[in-house]
Protein backbone atom coordinates (compact mmCIF):
# COMPACT_ATOMS: atom_id res chain seq x y z
CA UNK A 1 0.00 0.00 0.00
CA UNK A 2 2.76 2.36 1.08
CA UNK A 3 4.90 1.59 -1.93
CA UNK A 4 1.89 2.20 -4.19
CA UNK A 5 1.51 5.62 -2.64
CA UNK A 6 5.18 6.55 -2.52
CA UNK A 7 6.20 5.46 -6.01
CA UNK A 8 4.17 8.15 -7.80
CA UNK A 9 5.16 10.68 -5.15
CA UNK A 10 8.83 9.91 -5.70
CA UNK A 11 8.35 10.14 -9.44
CA UNK A 12 6.67 13.53 -9.05
CA UNK A 13 9.46 14.71 -6.73
CA UNK A 14 12.10 13.56 -9.22
CA UNK A 15 10.31 15.34 -12.04
CA UNK A 16 10.01 18.53 -10.00
CA UNK A 17 13.73 18.44 -9.23
CA UNK A 18 14.46 18.33 -12.95
CA UNK A 19 15.54 15.51 -15.21
CA UNK A 20 18.47 15.56 -17.60
CA UNK A 21 17.17 15.24 -21.15
CA UNK A 22 18.76 12.67 -23.40
CA UNK A 23 20.80 14.03 -26.25
CA UNK A 24 22.43 12.23 -29.10
CA UNK A 25 24.90 13.55 -31.69
CA UNK A 26 25.07 11.71 -34.99
CA UNK A 27 28.12 12.51 -37.11
CA UNK A 28 29.01 9.84 -39.69
CA UNK A 29 32.48 8.32 -39.33
CA UNK A 30 33.42 9.14 -42.92
CA UNK A 31 32.39 12.80 -42.62
CA UNK A 32 34.91 15.64 -43.02
CA UNK A 33 34.30 16.72 -39.42
CA UNK A 34 34.72 14.61 -36.30
CA UNK A 35 33.48 15.31 -32.82
CA UNK A 36 36.12 16.22 -30.27
CA UNK A 37 33.78 16.78 -27.34
CA UNK A 38 30.21 17.60 -26.38
CA UNK A 39 29.08 19.30 -23.22
CA UNK A 40 25.41 19.02 -22.21
CA UNK A 41 25.78 20.77 -18.87
CA UNK A 42 22.85 22.94 -17.87
CA UNK A 43 20.37 20.83 -19.85
CA UNK A 44 17.31 19.86 -17.87
CA UNK A 45 13.67 18.88 -18.18
CA UNK A 46 11.23 20.16 -15.60
CA UNK A 47 7.45 19.94 -15.38
CA UNK A 48 5.65 23.25 -15.94
CA UNK A 49 1.92 23.09 -15.48
CA UNK A 50 0.68 20.32 -17.72
CA UNK A 51 3.85 20.13 -19.78
CA UNK A 52 7.56 19.44 -19.68
CA UNK A 53 9.84 22.41 -20.19
CA UNK A 54 13.02 21.04 -21.69
CA UNK A 55 16.10 23.23 -21.87
CA UNK A 56 18.84 21.76 -24.01
CA UNK A 57 22.28 23.35 -23.98
CA UNK A 58 24.93 21.63 -26.01
CA UNK A 59 28.38 22.87 -26.83
CA UNK A 60 30.02 20.82 -29.57
CA UNK A 61 33.67 20.96 -30.47
CA UNK A 62 34.27 19.66 -34.00
CA UNK A 63 37.50 18.97 -35.81
CA UNK A 64 38.10 19.59 -39.51
CA UNK A 65 39.24 16.13 -40.57
CA UNK A 66 39.36 17.03 -44.26
CA UNK A 67 42.14 18.49 -46.40
CA UNK A 68 40.17 21.64 -47.27
CA UNK A 69 39.17 24.79 -45.43
CA UNK A 70 35.64 24.65 -44.06
CA UNK A 71 33.43 27.66 -44.74
CA UNK A 72 30.17 26.52 -43.16
CA UNK A 73 28.50 23.76 -41.18
CA UNK A 74 24.84 22.85 -40.83
CA UNK A 75 23.38 20.66 -38.07
CA UNK A 76 19.86 19.29 -38.04
CA UNK A 77 18.13 19.28 -34.63
CA UNK A 78 15.34 16.76 -34.19
CA UNK A 79 12.85 16.56 -31.33
CA UNK A 80 10.18 14.35 -32.82
CA UNK A 81 8.36 13.79 -29.51
CA UNK A 82 7.70 17.51 -29.28
CA UNK A 83 7.05 18.62 -32.82
CA UNK A 84 6.27 15.56 -34.92
CA UNK A 85 6.05 17.60 -38.11
CA UNK A 86 8.89 19.99 -37.48
CA UNK A 87 12.58 20.25 -36.94
CA UNK A 88 15.27 22.77 -36.25
CA UNK A 89 18.74 23.59 -37.46
CA UNK A 90 21.87 25.37 -36.36
CA UNK A 91 24.09 26.69 -39.15
CA UNK A 92 27.44 28.39 -38.88
CA UNK A 93 28.45 30.31 -42.03
CA UNK A 94 31.52 32.55 -42.57
CA UNK A 95 33.93 30.08 -40.99
CA UNK A 96 37.55 29.68 -41.97
CA UNK A 97 38.62 26.39 -40.39
CA UNK A 98 41.92 24.99 -41.65
CA UNK A 99 42.56 21.22 -41.84
CA UNK A 100 43.07 19.67 -38.36
CA UNK A 101 41.75 22.84 -36.66
CA UNK A 102 38.76 22.62 -34.36
CA UNK A 103 35.79 24.93 -33.91
CA UNK A 104 32.75 25.16 -31.63
CA UNK A 105 29.05 25.10 -32.34
CA UNK A 106 26.55 25.99 -29.65
CA UNK A 107 22.97 24.72 -29.55
CA UNK A 108 20.42 26.19 -27.15
CA UNK A 109 16.99 24.76 -27.51
CA UNK A 110 13.79 25.14 -25.53
CA UNK A 111 11.07 22.55 -25.97
CA UNK A 112 7.64 22.21 -24.49
CA UNK A 113 5.97 18.85 -24.64
CA UNK A 114 2.95 17.27 -22.93
CA UNK A 115 3.76 15.50 -19.65
CA UNK A 116 2.12 12.32 -20.85
CA UNK A 117 4.07 12.14 -24.11
CA UNK A 118 7.29 10.24 -24.70
CA UNK A 119 8.93 7.65 -22.56
CA UNK A 120 9.07 8.82 -18.92
CA UNK A 121 12.05 6.57 -18.17
CA UNK A 122 14.32 7.92 -20.86
CA UNK A 123 13.18 11.53 -20.79
CA UNK A 124 12.84 13.66 -23.89
CA UNK A 125 15.20 12.83 -26.73
CA UNK A 126 16.99 15.46 -28.76
CA UNK A 127 19.01 14.30 -31.70
CA UNK A 128 21.59 16.39 -33.56
CA UNK A 129 22.70 15.24 -37.03
CA UNK A 130 25.21 16.66 -39.46
CA UNK A 131 23.32 18.06 -42.46
CA UNK A 132 26.21 19.45 -44.40
CA UNK A 133 29.68 20.97 -44.61
CA UNK A 134 30.64 23.65 -47.17
CA UNK A 135 34.27 23.99 -48.21
CA UNK A 136 36.19 26.97 -49.56
CA UNK A 137 36.01 25.59 -53.12
CA UNK A 138 32.17 25.59 -52.70
CA UNK A 139 32.05 21.78 -52.72
CA UNK A 140 29.63 20.25 -50.23
CA UNK A 141 29.39 17.13 -48.10
CA UNK A 142 26.26 15.90 -46.36
CA UNK A 143 22.74 14.54 -46.73
CA UNK A 144 21.41 18.11 -47.30
CA UNK A 145 17.92 17.36 -45.95
CA UNK A 146 17.46 21.04 -45.09
CA UNK A 147 18.69 22.47 -48.41
CA UNK A 148 21.79 23.61 -46.53
CA UNK A 149 23.97 23.43 -49.64
CA UNK A 150 21.97 26.08 -51.47
CA UNK A 151 21.61 28.31 -48.43
CA UNK A 152 25.23 28.10 -47.33
CA UNK A 153 26.55 28.54 -50.88
CA UNK A 154 24.50 31.74 -51.27
CA UNK A 155 25.73 32.99 -47.90
CA UNK A 156 29.33 32.22 -48.87
CA UNK A 157 28.94 34.04 -52.20
CA UNK A 158 27.42 37.03 -50.40
CA UNK A 159 30.26 36.91 -47.85
CA UNK A 160 32.87 36.99 -50.62
CA UNK A 161 31.06 39.86 -52.35
CA UNK A 162 30.82 41.90 -49.15
CA UNK A 163 34.35 41.18 -47.90
CA UNK A 164 35.64 42.28 -51.30
CA UNK A 165 33.49 45.42 -51.13
CA UNK A 166 34.67 46.42 -47.65
CA UNK A 167 38.31 45.56 -48.44
CA UNK A 168 38.11 47.75 -51.55
CA UNK A 169 36.64 50.57 -49.46
CA UNK A 170 39.54 50.27 -47.03
CA UNK A 171 42.02 50.45 -49.88
CA UNK A 172 40.38 53.40 -51.62
CA UNK A 173 38.83 55.35 -48.74
CA UNK A 174 41.16 54.29 -45.94
CA UNK A 175 40.04 53.77 -42.35
CA UNK A 176 37.54 56.63 -42.59
CA UNK A 177 35.94 55.12 -45.67
CA UNK A 178 35.53 51.76 -43.97
CA UNK A 179 34.23 53.37 -40.78
CA UNK A 180 31.63 55.39 -42.73
CA UNK A 181 30.49 52.27 -44.57
CA UNK A 182 30.13 50.36 -41.29
CA UNK A 183 28.16 53.17 -39.70
CA UNK A 184 25.88 53.35 -42.75
CA UNK A 185 25.36 49.59 -42.57
CA UNK A 186 24.56 49.73 -38.85
CA UNK A 187 22.10 52.59 -39.44
CA UNK A 188 20.35 50.60 -42.15
CA UNK A 189 20.14 47.57 -39.86
CA UNK A 190 18.71 49.69 -37.05
CA UNK A 191 16.18 51.35 -39.38
CA UNK A 192 15.05 48.03 -40.86
CA UNK A 193 12.69 47.43 -37.96
CA UNK A 194 9.94 45.03 -38.72
CA UNK A 195 7.10 43.56 -36.73
CA UNK A 196 6.97 39.91 -35.75
CA UNK A 197 5.58 37.63 -38.43
CA UNK A 198 3.95 34.20 -38.46
CA UNK A 199 3.89 31.74 -41.33
CA UNK A 200 1.17 29.13 -41.54
CA UNK A 201 0.48 26.59 -44.23
CA UNK A 202 -2.70 27.24 -46.18
CA UNK A 203 -5.06 29.92 -44.92
CA UNK A 204 -5.37 31.26 -41.38
CA UNK A 205 -8.86 32.32 -40.30
CA UNK A 206 -9.68 35.99 -40.28
CA UNK A 207 -13.09 37.54 -40.52
CA UNK A 208 -11.88 40.88 -41.97
CA UNK A 209 -12.90 41.69 -45.55
CA UNK A 210 -10.30 40.50 -48.06
CA UNK A 211 -9.05 42.01 -51.30
CA UNK A 212 -6.31 41.43 -53.86
CA UNK A 213 -3.13 43.44 -53.81
CA UNK A 214 -0.67 43.57 -56.68
CA UNK A 215 3.09 43.15 -56.29
CA UNK A 216 5.24 45.98 -57.65
CA UNK A 217 8.47 44.21 -58.62
CA UNK A 218 11.67 46.18 -58.22
CA UNK A 219 13.96 46.34 -61.23
CA UNK A 220 17.17 44.33 -60.86
CA UNK A 221 19.25 45.19 -63.93
CA UNK A 222 21.52 42.12 -63.83
CA UNK A 223 19.00 39.51 -62.63
CA UNK A 224 18.74 36.40 -64.85
CA UNK A 225 14.99 36.08 -64.21
CA UNK A 226 12.23 38.65 -64.37
CA UNK A 227 9.20 38.40 -62.08
CA UNK A 228 5.86 39.87 -63.14
CA UNK A 229 2.10 39.75 -62.57
CA UNK A 230 2.30 39.17 -58.83
CA UNK A 231 -0.82 39.18 -56.66
CA UNK A 232 -1.79 38.10 -53.15
CA UNK A 233 -5.01 38.04 -51.13
CA UNK A 234 -4.88 40.44 -48.22
CA UNK A 235 -6.94 41.27 -45.15
CA UNK A 236 -5.84 43.92 -42.69
CA UNK A 237 -2.78 42.19 -41.25
CA UNK A 238 -2.67 38.95 -43.21
CA UNK A 239 -1.55 38.06 -46.74
CA UNK A 240 -1.93 34.68 -48.38
CA UNK A 241 -2.00 32.86 -51.69
CA UNK A 242 0.83 34.86 -53.26
CA UNK A 243 1.32 34.11 -56.94
CA UNK A 244 3.55 35.53 -59.61
CA UNK A 245 5.17 34.73 -62.93
CA UNK A 246 8.86 34.45 -63.66
CA UNK A 247 10.67 34.44 -66.98
CA UNK A 248 14.18 33.15 -67.52
CA UNK A 249 16.13 35.94 -69.26
CA UNK A 250 19.43 34.07 -69.21
CA UNK A 251 20.95 31.54 -71.58
CA UNK A 252 21.11 28.81 -68.94
CA UNK A 253 18.28 26.69 -67.48
CA UNK A 254 17.13 27.88 -64.06
CA UNK A 255 16.23 25.44 -61.27
CA UNK A 256 15.45 27.72 -58.32
CA UNK A 257 14.33 31.31 -57.73
CA UNK A 258 13.92 33.18 -54.49
CA UNK A 259 11.87 36.36 -54.33
CA UNK A 260 12.02 38.83 -51.44
CA UNK A 261 8.50 39.85 -50.40
CA UNK A 262 8.32 43.45 -49.15
CA UNK A 263 5.27 44.79 -47.33
CA UNK A 264 4.36 48.44 -46.75
CA UNK A 265 2.31 49.21 -43.64
CA UNK A 266 -0.10 52.05 -42.87
CA UNK A 267 2.74 54.34 -41.74
CA UNK A 268 4.56 53.96 -45.06
CA UNK A 269 7.24 51.78 -43.46
CA UNK A 270 8.51 49.09 -45.84
CA UNK A 271 10.05 45.91 -44.54
CA UNK A 272 11.09 42.50 -45.84
CA UNK A 273 8.18 40.30 -44.81
CA UNK A 274 9.25 36.90 -46.11
CA UNK A 275 11.11 35.11 -48.83
CA UNK A 276 9.21 33.25 -51.54
CA UNK A 277 11.32 30.31 -52.71
CA UNK A 278 10.34 28.30 -55.78
CA UNK A 279 11.84 25.15 -57.28
CA UNK A 280 11.46 25.39 -61.07
CA UNK A 281 12.71 24.00 -64.31
CA UNK A 282 12.93 26.99 -66.62
CA UNK A 283 14.62 26.72 -69.98
CA UNK A 284 16.15 29.92 -71.43
CA UNK A 285 13.37 32.34 -72.40
CA UNK A 286 10.70 30.20 -70.74
CA UNK A 287 8.22 31.49 -68.17
CA UNK A 288 6.31 29.82 -65.33
CA UNK A 289 3.69 30.63 -62.75
CA UNK A 290 4.63 30.25 -59.07
CA UNK A 291 1.95 29.60 -56.45
CA UNK A 292 3.39 29.09 -52.96
CA UNK A 293 0.88 27.75 -50.44
CA UNK A 294 1.50 30.05 -47.51
CA UNK A 295 0.02 32.71 -45.31
CA UNK A 296 1.96 35.38 -43.50
CA UNK A 297 0.39 37.15 -40.58
CA UNK A 298 1.50 40.26 -38.72
CA UNK A 299 0.43 41.61 -35.33
CA UNK A 300 -2.97 43.35 -35.21
CA UNK A 301 -1.42 46.83 -35.21
CA UNK A 302 -0.04 46.31 -38.76
CA UNK A 303 -2.27 47.14 -41.72
CA UNK A 304 -0.90 45.97 -45.07
CA UNK A 305 -1.09 48.83 -47.60
CA UNK A 306 1.13 47.63 -50.42
CA UNK A 307 3.49 44.91 -51.55
CA UNK A 308 6.59 44.71 -53.69
CA UNK A 309 9.18 42.08 -54.50
CA UNK A 310 12.67 41.56 -55.86
CA UNK A 311 14.78 38.64 -57.03
CA UNK A 312 17.11 37.75 -54.17
CA UNK A 313 18.85 34.66 -55.58
CA UNK A 314 18.75 32.26 -58.54
CA UNK A 315 20.18 28.77 -58.96
CA UNK A 316 20.97 27.45 -62.41
CA UNK A 317 20.58 23.82 -63.37
CA UNK A 318 24.36 23.43 -63.59
CA UNK A 319 24.59 24.15 -59.85
CA UNK A 320 25.89 27.71 -60.15
CA UNK A 321 24.18 30.69 -58.53
CA UNK A 322 23.33 34.32 -59.14
CA UNK A 323 23.10 36.86 -56.33
CA UNK A 324 22.57 40.62 -56.66
CA UNK A 325 25.70 42.71 -56.97
CA UNK A 326 26.67 45.20 -54.31
CA UNK A 327 25.76 48.01 -56.73
CA UNK A 328 22.25 46.62 -57.17
CA UNK A 329 21.44 46.23 -53.49
CA UNK A 330 22.79 49.71 -52.79
CA UNK A 331 20.06 51.15 -55.03
CA UNK A 332 17.86 53.65 -53.23
CA UNK A 333 14.68 51.54 -53.31
CA UNK A 334 16.43 48.32 -52.20
CA UNK A 335 19.00 49.64 -49.76
CA UNK A 336 16.65 49.90 -46.80
CA UNK A 337 14.63 46.73 -47.29
CA UNK A 338 17.13 44.08 -48.38
CA UNK A 339 18.64 42.34 -45.36
CA UNK A 340 22.39 42.65 -45.18
CA UNK A 341 24.23 39.37 -45.68
CA UNK A 342 25.19 37.33 -42.59
CA UNK A 343 28.80 38.33 -43.27
CA UNK A 344 28.02 42.05 -43.36
CA UNK A 345 26.15 41.69 -40.08
CA UNK A 346 29.02 39.73 -38.57
CA UNK A 347 31.58 42.34 -39.69
CA UNK A 348 29.46 45.21 -38.39
CA UNK A 349 29.13 43.47 -35.01
CA UNK A 350 32.90 43.02 -34.86
CA UNK A 351 33.22 46.75 -35.57
CA UNK A 352 30.77 47.63 -32.76
CA UNK A 353 32.21 45.29 -30.16
CA UNK A 354 35.92 45.35 -30.96
CA UNK A 355 36.56 48.45 -33.03
CA UNK A 356 37.96 49.36 -36.42
CA UNK A 357 41.36 47.70 -35.95
CA UNK A 358 39.75 44.35 -35.16
CA UNK A 359 37.55 44.72 -38.25
CA UNK A 360 40.56 45.44 -40.46
CA UNK A 361 42.36 42.40 -39.05
CA UNK A 362 39.26 40.30 -39.74
CA UNK A 363 39.09 41.50 -43.35
CA UNK A 364 42.72 40.49 -43.84
CA UNK A 365 42.16 36.93 -42.55
CA UNK A 366 40.74 35.35 -45.69
Amino acid sequence: MCSKLFTPLLAIAAMAAGQTPNGHIDIPKDSPVSMVSVDWSGSRATPRGGAYLVDVHASLTLLNASQKHIRGVSLEVLAQEVTPGGKGAVKVPSLDVAPRDSFSVRIDETLLRPLGGGNPDTGPMVEVRLDGVLFDDLSFYGPDKLNSQREMTVWEMEARRDRKYFTALLQTGGRDGLRDAMLASLNRQADARRPGVQVVRGRATNSDPEHEVQFAFLHMPDAPVEPSGGMARVTTNEAWAPRFEVRNLSKRPVSYVEIGWIVKDQTGNEFLAASLPADLNLAPGQGARVLPDATIKFPDRVAIQGMSGFVSSVQFSDGSYWIPSRGTIDQRDLRNVVSPSPEEQRLSQIYIKKGLDALIQELKKF
Binding site: T83, G86, K91, L115, V199, A294, Q349
Partner: protein
Protein backbone atom coordinates in the same frame (compact mmCIF):
# COMPACT_ATOMS: atom_id res chain seq x y z
CA UNK B 1 38.74 54.09 -10.00
CA UNK B 2 34.96 53.66 -10.49
CA UNK B 3 33.11 52.19 -7.53
CA UNK B 4 30.66 49.63 -8.83
CA UNK B 5 27.02 49.51 -7.83
CA UNK B 6 25.89 46.69 -5.54
CA UNK B 7 24.63 43.68 -7.45
CA UNK B 8 21.46 43.63 -5.34
CA UNK B 9 20.79 47.24 -6.34
CA UNK B 10 21.31 46.33 -10.00
CA UNK B 11 18.90 43.42 -9.70
CA UNK B 12 16.29 45.66 -8.06
CA UNK B 13 16.93 48.32 -10.69
CA UNK B 14 16.38 45.78 -13.48
CA UNK B 15 13.03 44.80 -11.99
CA UNK B 16 12.02 48.44 -11.38
CA UNK B 17 11.91 47.95 -7.60
CA UNK B 18 14.06 50.90 -6.53
CA UNK B 19 13.08 54.34 -5.30
CA UNK B 20 13.15 57.25 -7.74
CA UNK B 21 16.30 58.66 -6.16
CA UNK B 22 18.10 55.30 -6.37
CA UNK B 23 16.86 54.82 -9.93
CA UNK B 24 18.37 58.18 -10.93
CA UNK B 25 21.60 57.42 -9.05
CA UNK B 26 21.99 53.96 -10.66
CA UNK B 27 21.06 55.31 -14.08
CA UNK B 28 23.82 57.91 -13.84
CA UNK B 29 26.27 55.23 -12.76
CA UNK B 30 25.27 52.88 -15.60
CA UNK B 31 25.90 55.64 -18.14
CA UNK B 32 29.59 55.57 -17.29
CA UNK B 33 30.16 52.00 -16.06
CA UNK B 34 30.11 49.30 -18.75
CA UNK B 35 30.48 46.44 -16.27
CA UNK B 36 27.46 47.43 -14.19
CA UNK B 37 25.46 48.22 -17.32
CA UNK B 38 26.13 44.73 -18.64
CA UNK B 39 25.08 43.18 -15.32
CA UNK B 40 21.87 45.23 -15.25
CA UNK B 41 21.16 44.30 -18.88
CA UNK B 42 21.76 40.64 -18.05
CA UNK B 43 19.23 40.86 -15.22
CA UNK B 44 16.75 42.53 -17.55
CA UNK B 45 17.33 39.89 -20.22
CA UNK B 46 16.83 37.07 -17.72
CA UNK B 47 13.72 38.73 -16.38
CA UNK B 48 12.31 39.20 -19.87
CA UNK B 49 13.12 35.59 -20.77
CA UNK B 50 11.44 34.27 -17.62
CA UNK B 51 8.42 36.45 -18.32
CA UNK B 52 8.20 35.12 -21.87
CA UNK B 53 8.57 31.53 -20.76
CA UNK B 54 5.95 31.97 -18.04
CA UNK B 55 3.47 33.66 -20.35
CA UNK B 56 3.75 30.87 -22.89
CA UNK B 57 3.98 28.24 -20.24
CA UNK B 58 2.43 24.94 -21.07
CA UNK B 59 1.23 24.61 -24.64
CA UNK B 60 2.32 21.01 -24.32
CA UNK B 61 -0.99 19.36 -23.87
CA UNK B 62 -3.76 18.38 -26.22
CA UNK B 63 -6.02 21.06 -24.80
CA UNK B 64 -9.01 19.99 -26.81
CA UNK B 65 -8.78 16.57 -25.23
CA UNK B 66 -8.17 18.01 -21.79
CA UNK B 67 -11.11 20.36 -22.13
CA UNK B 68 -13.36 17.48 -23.08
CA UNK B 69 -12.05 15.43 -20.14
CA UNK B 70 -12.61 18.24 -17.68
CA UNK B 71 -16.10 18.83 -18.98
CA UNK B 72 -16.82 15.13 -18.67
CA UNK B 73 -15.52 15.11 -15.07
CA UNK B 74 -17.77 17.99 -14.14
CA UNK B 75 -20.71 16.24 -15.72
CA UNK B 76 -19.90 13.04 -13.81
CA UNK B 77 -19.81 15.04 -10.60
CA UNK B 78 -23.11 16.74 -11.34
CA UNK B 79 -24.76 13.51 -12.38
CA UNK B 80 -23.47 11.81 -9.23
CA UNK B 81 -25.14 14.60 -7.28
CA UNK B 82 -28.39 14.14 -9.16
CA UNK B 83 -28.33 10.42 -8.37
CA UNK B 84 -28.88 11.24 -4.73
CA UNK B 85 -32.58 11.60 -4.03
CA UNK B 86 -33.93 15.10 -3.34
CA UNK B 87 -33.98 15.98 0.32
CA UNK B 88 -37.26 14.80 1.91
CA UNK B 89 -39.16 16.99 4.30
CA UNK B 90 -38.67 15.69 7.74
CA UNK B 91 -41.85 14.93 9.57
CA UNK B 92 -40.17 14.78 12.88
CA UNK B 93 -38.40 17.44 14.89
CA UNK B 94 -34.87 18.22 13.81
CA UNK B 95 -32.35 16.51 15.97
CA UNK B 96 -29.61 18.54 17.55
CA UNK B 97 -27.03 15.88 16.82
CA UNK B 98 -24.99 16.31 13.61
CA UNK B 99 -26.63 14.80 10.54
CA UNK B 100 -24.50 12.16 8.82
CA UNK B 101 -23.95 13.04 5.17
CA UNK B 102 -24.78 10.27 2.74
CA UNK B 103 -21.86 8.50 1.03
CA UNK B 104 -23.11 9.55 -2.41
CA UNK B 105 -23.16 13.21 -1.44
CA UNK B 106 -19.67 13.01 -0.02
CA UNK B 107 -18.30 11.44 -3.19
CA UNK B 108 -20.14 13.89 -5.42
CA UNK B 109 -19.05 16.93 -3.42
CA UNK B 110 -15.45 15.75 -3.32
CA UNK B 111 -15.46 15.06 -7.07
CA UNK B 112 -16.92 18.47 -7.89
CA UNK B 113 -14.59 20.23 -5.46
CA UNK B 114 -11.45 18.53 -6.69
CA UNK B 115 -12.43 19.00 -10.33
CA UNK B 116 -13.16 22.67 -9.68
CA UNK B 117 -9.82 23.22 -7.93
CA UNK B 118 -7.87 21.43 -10.66
CA UNK B 119 -9.79 23.34 -13.29
CA UNK B 120 -9.05 26.72 -11.69
CA UNK B 121 -5.38 25.85 -11.19
CA UNK B 122 -4.98 24.71 -14.78
CA UNK B 123 -6.96 27.64 -16.12
CA UNK B 124 -4.72 30.12 -14.35
CA UNK B 125 -1.69 28.29 -15.68
CA UNK B 126 -2.85 28.22 -19.30
CA UNK B 127 -1.54 30.62 -21.87
CA UNK B 128 -4.23 32.79 -23.37
CA UNK B 129 -4.32 30.85 -26.65
CA UNK B 130 -5.12 27.61 -24.80
CA UNK B 131 -7.73 29.30 -22.65
CA UNK B 132 -9.41 30.18 -25.90
CA UNK B 133 -9.64 26.50 -26.88
CA UNK B 134 -11.05 25.56 -23.49
CA UNK B 135 -13.44 28.48 -23.57
CA UNK B 136 -14.63 27.25 -26.94
CA UNK B 137 -15.21 23.77 -25.56
CA UNK B 138 -17.23 25.10 -22.63
CA UNK B 139 -19.06 27.48 -24.96
CA UNK B 140 -20.04 24.56 -27.17
CA UNK B 141 -21.27 22.69 -24.10
CA UNK B 142 -23.35 25.64 -22.90
CA UNK B 143 -24.76 26.86 -26.19
CA UNK B 144 -24.90 23.57 -27.99
CA UNK B 145 -23.41 25.05 -31.16
CA UNK B 146 -19.99 25.35 -32.70
CA UNK B 147 -17.92 28.46 -32.07
CA UNK B 148 -15.50 29.58 -34.83
CA UNK B 149 -11.99 28.20 -34.71
CA UNK B 150 -9.07 30.29 -33.53
CA UNK B 151 -6.35 31.39 -35.94
CA UNK B 152 -3.77 28.77 -34.99
CA UNK B 153 -5.26 25.52 -36.22
CA UNK B 154 -2.08 24.07 -37.76
CA UNK B 155 1.67 24.31 -37.35
CA UNK B 156 2.92 27.87 -37.05
CA UNK B 157 6.42 29.26 -37.35
CA UNK B 158 7.00 32.66 -35.88
CA UNK B 159 9.85 35.15 -36.03
CA UNK B 160 10.07 38.16 -33.73
CA UNK B 161 12.78 40.29 -32.20
CA UNK B 162 12.94 37.70 -29.41
CA UNK B 163 13.81 34.85 -31.80
CA UNK B 164 12.07 32.05 -33.65
CA UNK B 165 9.57 29.41 -32.63
CA UNK B 166 7.66 26.48 -34.09
CA UNK B 167 4.34 25.62 -32.47
CA UNK B 168 2.43 22.51 -33.31
CA UNK B 169 -0.07 20.28 -31.55
CA UNK B 170 0.54 21.88 -28.18
CA UNK B 171 4.31 21.37 -28.47
CA UNK B 172 6.78 24.17 -29.06
CA UNK B 173 10.36 24.31 -30.29
CA UNK B 174 12.68 27.30 -29.98
CA UNK B 175 16.32 27.32 -31.02
CA UNK B 176 18.51 30.18 -29.88
CA UNK B 177 22.04 31.00 -28.75
CA UNK B 178 21.60 31.30 -25.00
CA UNK B 179 21.53 34.87 -23.79
CA UNK B 180 22.40 36.37 -27.18
CA UNK B 181 19.78 38.45 -28.97
CA UNK B 182 19.22 37.89 -32.68
CA UNK B 183 20.66 40.56 -34.97
CA UNK B 184 18.05 39.65 -37.61
CA UNK B 185 15.14 37.27 -38.11
CA UNK B 186 13.43 36.16 -41.31
CA UNK B 187 10.73 33.79 -42.51
CA UNK B 188 10.26 31.80 -45.67
CA UNK B 189 6.87 31.13 -47.20
CA UNK B 190 7.86 27.46 -47.43
CA UNK B 191 7.33 27.30 -43.68
CA UNK B 192 10.55 28.15 -41.92
CA UNK B 193 11.93 30.90 -39.73
CA UNK B 194 15.55 31.83 -39.08
CA UNK B 195 17.39 33.97 -36.56
CA UNK B 196 20.97 35.26 -36.86
CA UNK B 197 23.21 35.61 -33.82
CA UNK B 198 26.74 36.99 -33.52
CA UNK B 199 28.98 36.00 -30.62
CA UNK B 200 30.75 39.19 -29.54
CA UNK B 201 33.79 37.34 -28.20
CA UNK B 202 34.52 35.03 -31.10
CA UNK B 203 32.84 37.03 -33.87
CA UNK B 204 31.14 33.80 -34.98
CA UNK B 205 27.80 34.06 -36.78
CA UNK B 206 25.27 31.32 -35.97
CA UNK B 207 21.95 31.01 -37.77
CA UNK B 208 19.20 28.96 -36.14
CA UNK B 209 16.11 27.80 -38.02
CA UNK B 210 12.85 25.97 -37.39
CA UNK B 211 10.94 24.21 -40.15
CA UNK B 212 7.46 22.87 -40.72
CA UNK B 213 7.82 19.68 -42.69
Amino acid sequence: MTRHAKETDLALFASGDVSRWNKLRINLHLNRCTRCREIAEAYQTDRERLRREASKMPPGVDWEHLAAEMTANIRVGLEAGECVAPRRKRRFPVRRTPVKMGFGWAVASAAVGVTFLIGVALWLNFPSSDREVLGRAFGQLLHGKAIPLSDESGPVVEASSAGIELRENGGALKISQGALHPVAVSVSAQGSASARYVDADTGQMTITSVYVQ
